[in-house]
Subunit: 776 residues, 2 copies
């Protein structure tokens, strides 16, 4: 855990330079707009610790699988997020000295990410080895209005000298991925062009042959006034630069503005990349830095209007939740259905791929409640589009007849992961994808999504479950052998409760969907039967049998479902018995010791209780929580959020608050000691969920939105907004009252503390906060 | 399965060139002497399919571990067997044409390995592209008399031309390992020297800094008469050669003799390598090829005197068993206690390392019965010497107080393997190492090996078991969670019967050993208590409790022990239900499908029934065999031998014969389609065991050797010899009689078909063969 980021309601601030934490800060202050993004690297040369990162969504390299020992069924490659052109670079030379914070004396330093307006700025004063003092003020953003454009303003003031000043803005595609299996470079040059004031590089990704074009145009200002300049040009493989010779006088400021563009051949014909980039960049350039930035920050203010969460009385929590919301918006906008939510977004390369089950299980609820319905629908369609790949994937593992197994990690629908216990066995992900369809339909009432997209995906997944179980003569039950549940600290176990439960649920929900189709879309249904060679009677007979007779491990004495067969054979000790110096156990214990231990990485049986909460009474949930939470080490970023929601539901308010703070400040405080590699983007959806479903008690019940809020004792108030179908609601929770404001014109009927309420258009309703509502 | 090797009693013969099988033939006809060895590569240049391999025992490279996903506890490196200097190479040029069988027309070809005399020869006639016809006759061996020396005689006859002939014998250290994790070269040059007629190269292994010196001296003979010659020398990095210009006339023969040496710095000071090699090679050279070969083949004839097995009436079986015995002798001689029995011996690089549990479980019985006691004792001492490393290994995984976990694969006592389900979980290997001590003592009666070596190893292993189990409140039993048994088609299972059983047995045997020490070596025992901080009372109390209460999964209905908890939840189908085209399943099924299937890779529960045969009655063994054998795919080379022994014991004679043939001709017929990589050396010990314990019914009972032979119906007779303590016995089994000959001077009391017999020194005893002895 680190504690160097200044607590602030709207900003992430580093108020003196922490070189040892630089990679963490670079992750935290990353910028992105759903299409391009980069880490908070310095513009000028820096020889200290840094992880350079510039990313273009959807562009990847299929890196040949690396394993110690091959297992049949492993994918051929792992799709790696590509470190693309470094377009922020501006080398600075004063006299013959190159500005480098690693070799300069830093007199003042401040780096801040302004989440409200979406820009990153730096201000510092340094003394160069020669004694020259300069002040630098920078500011940059990647536009959420024009998602191919980024811009930098970089101002140097000579504090105690006059000398030559050389500015060298460049574009560099000659870069490596840190996350490369065989240390190869992934980019080849296609074309470059450079002249004074501007330059372009088009590069091609090896194997996938994506083209990306990076371009830049330059302005120079002297004391704020634009001026002419001359420049030499540099042009070597995959790299172009302008070398701009200037002089600077004591007290004078020189500003360089760099307006840049990144285009991908996903969106333009390859042969027109350079020309398109030039045209497009010219029009952005003609607007100028100030106008571009203005449009961009206005758009951010708009975004916040609908998705902000305000907490009064707890700056750490306020900063945490806004950071999570900000990064989610930076990562995924729902504009392009080919894209998804990468685990590190635009903050790092690690984990490659773009899509995990995190999207469905932890991010969808955020987008459902804060973004237009199209955004969530695109997330669902992404999987529908990959259905044939999921069928191929299952087929490669020996399944047939249209059974679909969605990949653990993917970029284009193909499996990328290569650990057998995950790739082949962590199949509950299929359930998460089915559940997301239900969750979407429940929230939006967009039933027709089932006809046919939702149904087709559900059919493939149900067929998978029907083949993945087998009949145990011994148990006289259907069993599911050899799986890994959400708790990855158990591998290749039998009858993971969560997996069996979500399989059972999927089959049931698919049956319901079939009924819906028969009733509402009979001819479509007939065509689907044909298309999928669906033998309804035989197949659904088996599904009914599985639903009825699937084995769900249970301990009658404790009255709890067991995480898996044989769980109680373990030496059941609670987490508080682990010495502090051995936490997190995944950094201190051997893998076999972790596997044999009773410790749970992330919500597993409790994940089911969270998903199927309405099918269990509060006492049952409490019994399970009381058994499993003390065994849970929360060493996945996706764990505390689910526990927060459940703790809140059973009245464990302090626990809910503690777990919430952990999830919301996971990266800001570098809780798991791994933020240097990038932020945990998908868990940020979990944080939002923890807040709104935990503190706000938000649910959908019988087609109505429902709330049962409580407030942590150290907060004065909190407020959040959600979309629900045709309404926008603002929920404001104070120490003793709850106020729900209907910001739309039409009435809404909702549940507040289980009581039905009708709130008219543009009206609000205020009730007493029920402090004991969650007590059991 | 392939069928191109000519069946012959003493030879392995390829009577026409099979380029597509060349790598298989290279493996089969490998030569070795326990210290150096090589594959049957051609001396002359060959541009076709080949896997070049020359090996020096004990010399390895610690190749940085390669994994997809790191798990805590993985070793840092995998010790790779090194492909060392190619010293057999002789490039041949006729006129301007280079001799290369890949580009010549092959008119006649024969390659044969003479196992009786231990040499490899080739004879071929080819037409070069120019039309010139030559005949070549080669012969080579690596000496088992002087284990650093190898020699080649290579004769060329010009059949239809006269021309220039250039011979270029060379030594080449500039070679790669095919089995390299990161494609590095492993050798650096230290020193070279070359002059006409001889040359030397000393190279150093990266990281481990072993030095190896290869040297050669040359003779040229014309029509069999030694003659003078001149030579140019070539000398480039890690490579030296002589270039010998000659002329050859039609009908004339030119012979080159190359006497070579390979020395390792394991045995000589590095600074004296070249000098030692020169002196040593000079003395071998002065003997000459013929004398060197004579000594060598005499030594082989001696070896066969004590270890041959003769089968009459079945040439395939005869060739198979001699091939196995020959390769075992080539691999391990017991002369150097730092060495062990690599899985591929000197026939390939694959699997790296030198020592698996194969040594104890499958090879020790061969050496116990056919070699002096010192050889087996060296194999045991090898593990004793590695005890502190085994303790470190266990400690790295979280065990303490002197618990020892021997590595899955090792070169120097350190673990090399890196699959968590094997490395951390296939812990039954520890049991095999404990059992080998028992097996050795039982066979040799060398009880004092227990004081202290055997005891120290047993204590470390027993301590490991005591920590590896845990008490299950649920079962009220000790359980062992998260293991992989010998059947590697199950991973991370709970309560593998074999592992639990051998753990229980180890604890019991260690208790017995303590009693022995207390009684016979009381003061030594006191010092051992101190040395190992052995709290006898507390520790053995726990051992007693575990012995009494360890969980052994059992099915009361079938009256069989179950391979693991939950085994009967599987869809139990027998192997004959697998379509032939899907066999072997490990080449056709995804890993998860294999894991979920009931199919067994190699003897697992049956491994225990084999080891602890005297504790189960025949009916019990039969019940288990009848259940498990139909589920066993025998996709490990170590499987059929155990099944052979058990089938024989319960009267399944045909089954025993079929499985035996499979194990004994595994490589000759390339049964598993992988002999190209090298032969399955350690399974050859299993073949010997299958023969002697299966057909011969050899056991040790109550300190006596015991036999209960049967003869497969298509054999006329078979005979084998064994050492047992102070006796050498020859067992000759005919269609209807068994004759046991006591070849030593002292009497022996033994059991034949459970009847006690005394056979006087140099006497024999003949009885009727009991055809129905094994019927149940």
């Amino acid at each position: 855990m680190k504690d160097y980021i200044i607590h602030n309601e709207w900003k992430i601030i580093e108020d003196s330079f922490h070189p040892a934490y630089n990679k963490i800060t670079e992750s935290l202050m990353s910028l992105g707009n759903g299409r391009i993004g980069h880490r908070a690297n310095f513009e000028e040369k820096f020889t200290g610790e840094t992880l350079q990162g510039n990313y273009v969504a959807g562009v990847y390299y299929p890196d040949k699988t690396r394993v110690g020992w091959w297992k049949n069924g492993y994918p051929k490659y792992f799709a790696k997020v590509l470190n693309a052109a470094n377009w922020i670079g501006i080398d600075i030379k004063i006299g013959n000295e190159t500005l480098d914070l690693n070799t300069s004396e830093i007199l003042e330093f401040r780096r801040e990410l302004d989440m409200q307006h979406g820009h990153l700025s730096r201000e510092f004063i340094v003394r160069l080895p020669s004694g020259k003092k300069i002040k630098v003020v920078t500011r940059r953003f990647v536009s959420i209005v024009d998602s191919e454009i980024g811009a930098i303003s970089y101002t140097i003031t000579a504090l105690n000298f006059s000398d030559k000043l050389t500015l060298s803005p460049f574009l560099d595609f000659d870069i490596r991925n840190e996350d490369a299996n065989y240390d190869e470079k992934f980019w080849d040059e296609v074309e470059v062009s450079v002249k004074p004031g501007e330059g372009y590089v088009v590069a091609e990704v090896r194997k996938t042959l994506f083209h990306v074009c990076a371009g830049m145009k330059i302005n120079i200002l002297r004391n704020g006034i634009k001026c002419d300049f001359s420049a030499d040009v540099e042009n070597r493989t995959k790299f172009i630069a302008n070398i701009i010779p200037l002089t600077i006088r004591e007290g004078e400021s020189v500003t360089i503005e760099k307006i840049a563009i990144s285009l991908s051949s996903e969106n333009y014909p390859k042969e027109e990349m350079m020309k398109t980039a030039q045209n497009h960049l010219n029009s952005a350039y003609s607007k100028g830095f100030i106008q571009l930035e203005h449009e961009h920050s206005q758009a951010w203010l708009e975004k916040w209007k609908t998705s902000d969460i305000i907490i009064e009385g707890d700056i750490a929590a306020q900063q945490g939740i806004r950071f999570n919301i900000f990064q989610l918006h930076q990562t995924y906008t729902g504009e392009d259905e080919r894209l998804n939510i990468g685990p590190k977004g635009f903050t790092g390369e690690k984990y490659g791929g773009s899509t995990y089950w995190d999207t469905e299980a932890f991010c969808l609820p955020f987008f459902l409640a804060t973004a237009p319905i199209e955004v969530s629908r695109k997330l669902l369609k992404y999987r529908h589009k990959h259905l044939s790949k999921a069928i191929e994937n299952a087929s490669a593992l020996g399944f047939n007849q249209g059974a679909a197994l969605y990949p653990m990690v993917t970029m284009n629908g193909e499996e990328c992961h290569n650990e057998w216990e995950i790739t082949f066995e962590e199949v509950h992900r299929n359930g998460a994808i089915a559940y997301a369809i239900f969750d979407y339909v429940r929230y939006t009432n967009d039933l027709d999504y089932l006809a046919p997209n939702g149904f087709e995906v559900l059919l493939g997944i149900s067929r998978f479950w029907a083949q993945r179980v087998n009949w145990s003569e011994e148990k006289q039950k259907y069993v599911m052998l050899g799986v890994t549940g959400p708790n990855e600290y158990e591998n290749n176990i039998n009858n993971n409760f969560h997996t069996n439960r979500i399989a059972q649920w999927t089959l049931q929900y698919t049956l319901g969907t079939i009924d819906f189709l028969k009733k509402n879309h009979p001819s479509l249904y007939q065509s689907l039967i044909k298309k999928w060679q669906f033998n309804e009677e035989t197949e659904t007979d088996l599904w009914h049998a599985i639903i009825k007779d699937i084995h769900l491990p249970y301990d009658a004495k404790r009255e709890i479902f067991l995480q898996q067969d044989g769980f109680l054979d373990k030496n059941i000790k609670t987490v508080d018995e682990i010495p502090a110096k051995e936490r997190p156990i995944n950094q201190h214990w051997s893998w076999d010791r972790i596997l044999r231990s009773p410790y749970i990485k992330q919500a597993d049986t409790l994940q089911s209780l969270y998903l199927f909460e309405d099918q269990y009474d509060k006492k049952t949930i409490k019994r399970h929580f009381d058994f499993y939470e003390p065994l849970t080490v929360h060493e996945s970023s996706l764990s505390p959020c689910v526990h927060t929601i459940l703790s809140a539901a059973i009245g464990y308010k302090q626990k809910a608050y503690d777990l919430y703070l952990r999830t919301s400040r996971l990266d800001l405080d570098d809780y798991n000691n791994d933020t240097a590699d990038g932020c945990h983007i998908t868990s940020m959806g979990g944080t939002w969920m923890a807040f709104v479903k935990g503190f706000g008690g938000m649910r959908v019940q019988n087609g109505m939105i429902s709330f049962s809020p409580f407030i942590p004792h150290n907060w004065n108030s909190y407020a959040f907004r959600i979309h629900f179908r045709n309404n926008v609601l603002k929920i404001n929770v104070l120490k003793n009252t709850v106020c729900i404001e209907n910001l739309s014109d039409n009435d809404i009927t909702l549940l507040l503390y289980d009581q039905q309420q009708i709130i008219g258009g543009n009206m609000k309703s205020e009730v007493q906060l029920k402090h004991d509502h969650h007590e059991i």
